[in-house]
Subunit: 135 residues, 2 copies
DNA sequence: CTGGGTGCAAAGTATTTGCATGAAC
DNA sequence: GTTCATGCAAATACTTTGCACCCAG
Protein backbone atom coordinates (compact mmCIF):
# COMPACT_ATOMS: atom_id res chain seq x y z
CA UNK A 1 0.00 0.00 0.00
CA UNK A 2 1.38 3.32 -1.14
CA UNK A 3 1.50 6.12 1.42
CA UNK A 4 -0.87 8.82 0.29
CA UNK A 5 -0.74 10.84 3.50
CA UNK A 6 1.42 13.62 2.13
CA UNK A 7 -0.37 13.68 -1.18
CA UNK A 8 -3.70 14.13 0.54
CA UNK A 9 -2.29 16.96 2.62
CA UNK A 10 -0.92 18.66 -0.45
CA UNK A 11 -4.52 18.73 -1.63
CA UNK A 12 -5.58 20.30 1.70
CA UNK A 13 -7.24 17.11 2.83
CA UNK A 14 -6.64 15.56 6.22
CA UNK A 15 -5.24 12.06 5.97
CA UNK A 16 -8.02 10.15 7.70
CA UNK A 17 -8.07 6.36 7.66
CA UNK A 18 -11.16 6.47 5.45
CA UNK A 19 -9.47 8.66 2.88
CA UNK A 20 -6.32 6.61 2.88
CA UNK A 21 -8.43 3.53 2.31
CA UNK A 22 -10.30 5.17 -0.58
CA UNK A 23 -7.05 6.17 -2.27
CA UNK A 24 -5.68 2.69 -1.70
CA UNK A 25 -8.73 1.08 -3.24
CA UNK A 26 -8.50 3.40 -6.23
CA UNK A 27 -4.82 2.62 -6.58
CA UNK A 28 -5.33 -1.12 -6.40
CA UNK A 29 -8.53 -1.36 -8.45
CA UNK A 30 -7.74 1.33 -10.98
CA UNK A 31 -11.38 2.15 -11.71
CA UNK A 32 -14.39 1.75 -9.47
CA UNK A 33 -18.03 2.78 -9.23
CA UNK A 34 -19.42 4.52 -6.15
CA UNK A 35 -21.43 1.43 -5.34
CA UNK A 36 -18.45 -0.94 -5.51
CA UNK A 37 -16.26 1.45 -3.59
CA UNK A 38 -18.85 1.56 -0.83
CA UNK A 39 -19.03 -2.23 -0.69
CA UNK A 40 -15.25 -2.49 -0.41
CA UNK A 41 -15.07 0.25 2.20
CA UNK A 42 -17.74 -1.34 4.38
CA UNK A 43 -15.46 -4.36 4.75
CA UNK A 44 -12.74 -2.10 6.16
CA UNK A 45 -14.94 0.25 8.21
CA UNK A 46 -18.14 -1.48 9.08
CA UNK A 47 -19.93 1.71 10.05
CA UNK A 48 -18.78 3.91 7.18
CA UNK A 49 -21.62 5.79 5.56
CA UNK A 50 -22.34 6.45 1.91
CA UNK A 51 -22.36 10.16 2.76
CA UNK A 52 -18.69 9.91 3.66
CA UNK A 53 -17.95 8.23 0.35
CA UNK A 54 -19.77 10.92 -1.60
CA UNK A 55 -18.26 13.79 0.38
CA UNK A 56 -14.76 12.47 -0.15
CA UNK A 57 -15.23 11.63 -3.80
CA UNK A 58 -16.57 15.12 -4.40
CA UNK A 59 -13.73 16.77 -2.52
CA UNK A 60 -11.17 14.73 -4.41
CA UNK A 61 -12.85 15.60 -7.70
CA UNK A 62 -12.77 19.33 -6.87
CA UNK A 63 -9.07 18.94 -6.14
CA UNK A 64 -8.44 17.04 -9.34
CA UNK A 65 -6.96 14.36 -7.15
CA UNK A 66 -9.28 11.90 -8.91
CA UNK A 67 -11.30 11.97 -12.14
CA UNK A 68 -14.72 10.74 -13.13
CA UNK A 69 -14.92 8.60 -16.26
CA UNK A 70 -18.35 8.44 -17.87
CA UNK A 71 -18.93 5.10 -19.56
CA UNK A 72 -21.60 4.58 -22.23
CA UNK A 73 -24.47 2.39 -21.01
CA UNK A 74 -22.89 1.99 -17.59
CA UNK A 75 -22.22 3.77 -14.35
CA UNK A 76 -19.39 6.24 -13.99
CA UNK A 77 -16.13 5.02 -12.56
CA UNK A 78 -13.51 6.99 -10.65
CA UNK A 79 -9.74 6.82 -10.96
CA UNK A 80 -6.71 8.55 -9.53
CA UNK A 81 -5.62 11.40 -11.78
CA UNK A 82 -2.73 10.44 -14.04
CA UNK A 83 -1.32 11.50 -17.38
CA UNK A 84 -3.80 11.79 -20.25
CA UNK A 85 -5.16 8.50 -21.42
CA UNK A 86 -8.23 6.90 -22.90
CA UNK A 87 -10.32 3.95 -21.79
CA UNK A 88 -11.59 0.65 -23.02
CA UNK A 89 -14.84 -0.66 -21.55
CA UNK A 90 -15.91 -4.28 -21.95
CA UNK A 91 -19.61 -4.34 -22.80
CA UNK A 92 -20.03 -7.79 -21.30
CA UNK A 93 -18.10 -7.92 -18.02
CA UNK A 94 -17.81 -4.19 -17.44
CA UNK A 95 -14.05 -4.21 -17.03
CA UNK A 96 -12.36 -0.87 -17.68
CA UNK A 97 -8.79 -0.65 -18.99
CA UNK A 98 -6.58 2.37 -19.50
CA UNK A 99 -5.20 2.74 -23.00
CA UNK A 100 -2.57 5.16 -24.16
CA UNK A 101 -3.60 6.77 -27.43
CA UNK A 102 -1.95 9.76 -28.99
CA UNK A 103 -4.79 12.03 -30.03
CA UNK A 104 -2.62 15.09 -30.67
CA UNK A 105 -2.74 14.81 -34.44
CA UNK A 106 -6.49 14.46 -34.42
CA UNK A 107 -7.00 17.30 -31.99
CA UNK A 108 -4.71 19.59 -33.95
CA UNK A 109 -6.53 18.75 -37.13
CA UNK A 110 -9.91 19.42 -35.51
CA UNK A 111 -8.65 22.68 -34.02
CA UNK A 112 -7.37 23.80 -37.41
CA UNK A 113 -10.63 23.15 -39.22
CA UNK A 114 -13.00 24.45 -36.56
CA UNK A 115 -13.62 27.64 -34.66
CA UNK A 116 -13.37 26.26 -31.16
CA UNK A 117 -10.48 25.89 -28.75
CA UNK A 118 -9.95 22.40 -27.35
CA UNK A 119 -8.84 21.94 -23.76
CA UNK A 120 -9.37 18.24 -23.20
CA UNK A 121 -10.55 15.06 -24.80
CA UNK A 122 -12.41 12.06 -23.46
CA UNK A 123 -12.38 8.88 -25.47
CA UNK A 124 -13.95 5.59 -24.48
CA UNK A 125 -13.74 2.57 -26.75
CA UNK A 126 -16.29 -0.16 -26.12
CA UNK A 127 -16.25 -3.79 -27.09
CA UNK A 128 -15.25 -7.18 -25.76
CA UNK A 129 -12.22 -7.90 -23.63
CA UNK A 130 -10.07 -10.95 -24.28
CA UNK A 131 -11.96 -13.19 -21.86
CA UNK A 132 -15.39 -12.16 -23.03
CA UNK A 133 -14.54 -12.83 -26.67
CA UNK A 134 -14.07 -16.49 -25.82
CA UNK A 135 -17.01 -17.12 -23.51
CA UNK B 1 -41.12 19.64 -39.52
CA UNK B 2 -40.07 16.27 -40.85
CA UNK B 3 -42.68 13.50 -40.76
CA UNK B 4 -41.45 10.86 -38.37
CA UNK B 5 -44.69 8.89 -38.28
CA UNK B 6 -43.46 6.04 -40.42
CA UNK B 7 -40.07 5.97 -38.82
CA UNK B 8 -41.62 5.65 -35.38
CA UNK B 9 -43.81 2.80 -36.61
CA UNK B 10 -40.83 1.02 -38.07
CA UNK B 11 -39.46 1.06 -34.55
CA UNK B 12 -42.76 -0.45 -33.29
CA UNK B 13 -43.76 2.79 -31.64
CA UNK B 14 -47.16 4.37 -32.11
CA UNK B 15 -46.94 7.81 -33.62
CA UNK B 16 -48.49 9.83 -30.83
CA UNK B 17 -48.41 13.63 -30.91
CA UNK B 18 -46.06 13.58 -27.93
CA UNK B 19 -43.59 11.31 -29.68
CA UNK B 20 -43.74 13.27 -32.90
CA UNK B 21 -43.02 16.40 -30.90
CA UNK B 22 -40.06 14.80 -29.12
CA UNK B 23 -38.54 13.71 -32.41
CA UNK B 24 -39.16 17.14 -33.86
CA UNK B 25 -37.46 18.83 -30.94
CA UNK B 26 -34.49 16.49 -31.24
CA UNK B 27 -34.31 17.16 -34.96
CA UNK B 28 -34.43 20.91 -34.55
CA UNK B 29 -32.24 21.22 -31.45
CA UNK B 30 -29.74 18.51 -32.30
CA UNK B 31 -28.85 17.77 -28.67
CA UNK B 32 -30.94 18.28 -25.58
CA UNK B 33 -31.02 17.34 -21.90
CA UNK B 34 -34.04 15.68 -20.31
CA UNK B 35 -34.73 18.82 -18.34
CA UNK B 36 -34.69 21.12 -21.39
CA UNK B 37 -36.73 18.68 -23.41
CA UNK B 38 -39.37 18.66 -20.69
CA UNK B 39 -39.49 22.45 -20.62
CA UNK B 40 -39.94 22.61 -24.38
CA UNK B 41 -42.57 19.88 -24.35
CA UNK B 42 -44.62 21.56 -21.64
CA UNK B 43 -45.08 24.52 -23.97
CA UNK B 44 -46.63 22.20 -26.53
CA UNK B 45 -48.59 19.92 -24.18
CA UNK B 46 -49.31 21.72 -20.99
CA UNK B 47 -50.20 18.58 -19.07
CA UNK B 48 -47.39 16.35 -20.28
CA UNK B 49 -45.62 14.51 -17.48
CA UNK B 50 -41.96 13.86 -16.92
CA UNK B 51 -42.81 10.16 -16.77
CA UNK B 52 -43.91 10.32 -20.40
CA UNK B 53 -40.64 11.97 -21.34
CA UNK B 54 -38.60 9.31 -19.56
CA UNK B 55 -40.67 6.42 -20.88
CA UNK B 56 -40.32 7.64 -24.45
CA UNK B 57 -36.65 8.47 -24.18
CA UNK B 58 -36.00 5.01 -22.77
CA UNK B 59 -38.03 3.29 -25.45
CA UNK B 60 -36.27 5.24 -28.17
CA UNK B 61 -32.90 4.39 -26.65
CA UNK B 62 -33.75 0.68 -26.58
CA UNK B 63 -34.66 0.95 -30.26
CA UNK B 64 -31.48 2.84 -31.09
CA UNK B 65 -33.74 5.49 -32.54
CA UNK B 66 -31.86 8.00 -30.37
CA UNK B 67 -28.53 7.95 -28.51
CA UNK B 68 -27.36 9.27 -25.17
CA UNK B 69 -24.21 11.37 -25.19
CA UNK B 70 -22.43 11.56 -21.84
CA UNK B 71 -20.68 14.89 -21.42
CA UNK B 72 -17.86 15.41 -18.86
CA UNK B 73 -18.91 17.69 -16.00
CA UNK B 74 -22.40 18.13 -17.43
CA UNK B 75 -25.70 16.39 -17.93
CA UNK B 76 -26.22 13.86 -20.67
CA UNK B 77 -27.80 15.01 -23.89
CA UNK B 78 -29.85 12.99 -26.35
CA UNK B 79 -29.73 13.07 -30.14
CA UNK B 80 -31.32 11.28 -33.07
CA UNK B 81 -29.15 8.37 -34.18
CA UNK B 82 -27.04 9.25 -37.20
CA UNK B 83 -23.78 8.14 -38.77
CA UNK B 84 -20.80 7.85 -36.43
CA UNK B 85 -19.52 11.16 -35.20
CA UNK B 86 -17.87 12.79 -32.24
CA UNK B 87 -18.83 15.79 -30.13
CA UNK B 88 -17.48 19.10 -29.02
CA UNK B 89 -18.79 20.51 -25.71
CA UNK B 90 -18.27 24.14 -24.76
CA UNK B 91 -17.24 24.28 -21.11
CA UNK B 92 -18.68 27.76 -20.70
CA UNK B 93 -22.04 27.91 -22.48
CA UNK B 94 -22.69 24.18 -22.67
CA UNK B 95 -23.28 24.12 -26.40
CA UNK B 96 -22.76 20.74 -28.05
CA UNK B 97 -21.62 20.40 -31.66
CA UNK B 98 -21.26 17.33 -33.82
CA UNK B 99 -17.85 16.89 -35.35
CA UNK B 100 -16.85 14.40 -37.97
CA UNK B 101 -13.57 12.75 -37.07
CA UNK B 102 -12.13 9.71 -38.72
CA UNK B 103 -10.99 7.47 -35.89
CA UNK B 104 -10.49 4.38 -38.01
CA UNK B 105 -6.72 4.58 -38.06
CA UNK B 106 -6.57 5.00 -34.33
CA UNK B 107 -9.03 2.21 -33.66
CA UNK B 108 -7.23 -0.16 -35.99
CA UNK B 109 -3.95 0.65 -34.32
CA UNK B 110 -5.43 0.07 -30.88
CA UNK B 111 -7.05 -3.17 -32.00
CA UNK B 112 -3.74 -4.39 -33.39
CA UNK B 113 -1.78 -3.72 -30.23
CA UNK B 114 -4.35 -4.94 -27.74
CA UNK B 115 -6.29 -8.07 -26.98
CA UNK B 116 -9.78 -6.63 -27.08
CA UNK B 117 -12.29 -6.25 -29.88
CA UNK B 118 -13.65 -2.74 -30.40
CA UNK B 119 -17.28 -2.22 -31.36
CA UNK B 120 -17.73 1.49 -30.88
CA UNK B 121 -16.01 4.66 -29.84
CA UNK B 122 -17.21 7.71 -27.98
CA UNK B 123 -15.13 10.85 -28.17
CA UNK B 124 -16.00 14.18 -26.60
CA UNK B 125 -13.70 17.16 -26.99
CA UNK B 126 -14.17 19.95 -24.46
CA UNK B 127 -13.12 23.57 -24.62
CA UNK B 128 -14.45 26.95 -25.66
CA UNK B 129 -16.69 27.66 -28.61
CA UNK B 130 -16.09 30.65 -30.84
CA UNK B 131 -18.38 32.98 -28.91
CA UNK B 132 -17.09 31.99 -25.51
CA UNK B 133 -13.48 32.57 -26.53
CA UNK B 134 -14.28 36.22 -27.04
CA UNK B 135 -16.45 36.98 -24.03
C1' DC C 1 -7.18 22.62 21.76
C1' DT C 2 -9.16 23.54 17.01
C1' DG C 3 -10.83 22.75 12.64
C1' DG C 4 -12.19 19.65 9.80
C1' DG C 5 -14.16 14.76 9.12
C1' DT C 6 -17.40 11.10 10.12
C1' DG C 7 -21.85 8.89 10.58
C1' DC C 8 -26.53 9.23 11.06
C1' DA C 9 -30.92 10.87 9.66
C1' DA C 10 -33.43 13.78 6.84
C1' DA C 11 -33.95 16.31 2.70
C1' DG C 12 -33.45 16.92 -2.13
C1' DT C 13 -33.10 15.43 -6.88
C1' DA C 14 -33.56 12.09 -10.52
C1' DT C 15 -35.79 8.27 -12.44
C1' DT C 16 -39.05 4.38 -12.56
C1' DT C 17 -43.35 1.99 -11.77
C1' DG C 18 -48.49 0.92 -11.30
C1' DC C 19 -52.72 1.95 -12.69
C1' DA C 20 -56.90 4.14 -14.60
C1' DT C 21 -58.13 6.69 -18.48
C1' DG C 22 -57.67 7.81 -23.25
C1' DA C 23 -55.88 7.67 -27.99
C1' DA C 24 -53.75 5.14 -32.07
C1' DC C 25 -54.62 1.90 -35.35
C1' DG D 1 -62.42 -3.20 -30.21
C1' DT D 2 -57.73 -4.01 -28.86
C1' DT D 3 -53.44 -2.56 -27.84
C1' DC D 4 -50.55 0.51 -26.33
C1' DA D 5 -49.53 5.49 -24.51
C1' DT D 6 -50.41 9.10 -21.36
C1' DG D 7 -50.61 11.42 -16.94
C1' DC D 8 -50.90 11.18 -12.25
C1' DA D 9 -49.26 9.61 -7.89
C1' DA D 10 -46.39 6.72 -5.42
C1' DA D 11 -42.22 4.33 -5.14
C1' DT D 12 -37.40 3.72 -5.76
C1' DA D 13 -32.73 5.21 -6.60
C1' DC D 14 -29.18 8.44 -6.21
C1' DT D 15 -26.90 12.28 -4.03
C1' DT D 16 -26.55 16.11 -0.80
C1' DT D 17 -27.13 18.49 3.58
C1' DG D 18 -27.31 19.53 8.72
C1' DC D 19 -25.76 18.49 12.89
C1' DA D 20 -23.69 16.25 17.01
C1' DC D 21 -19.72 13.88 18.09
C1' DC D 22 -14.96 12.64 17.21
C1' DC D 23 -10.23 12.58 15.49
C1' DA D 24 -6.01 14.51 12.91
C1' DG D 25 -2.76 17.84 13.34
Amino acid sequence: MINYTDILRQHNLKATPQRLAITDVLYVQGHITIESLYKVMVKKFNSISLATIYKNINLMLENSFIQEVKIPHAKSVYELTKENHSHFACEKCGEIQDIIIDLDNIINEVARTNTFKINSSDLVLSGLCKNCQQN
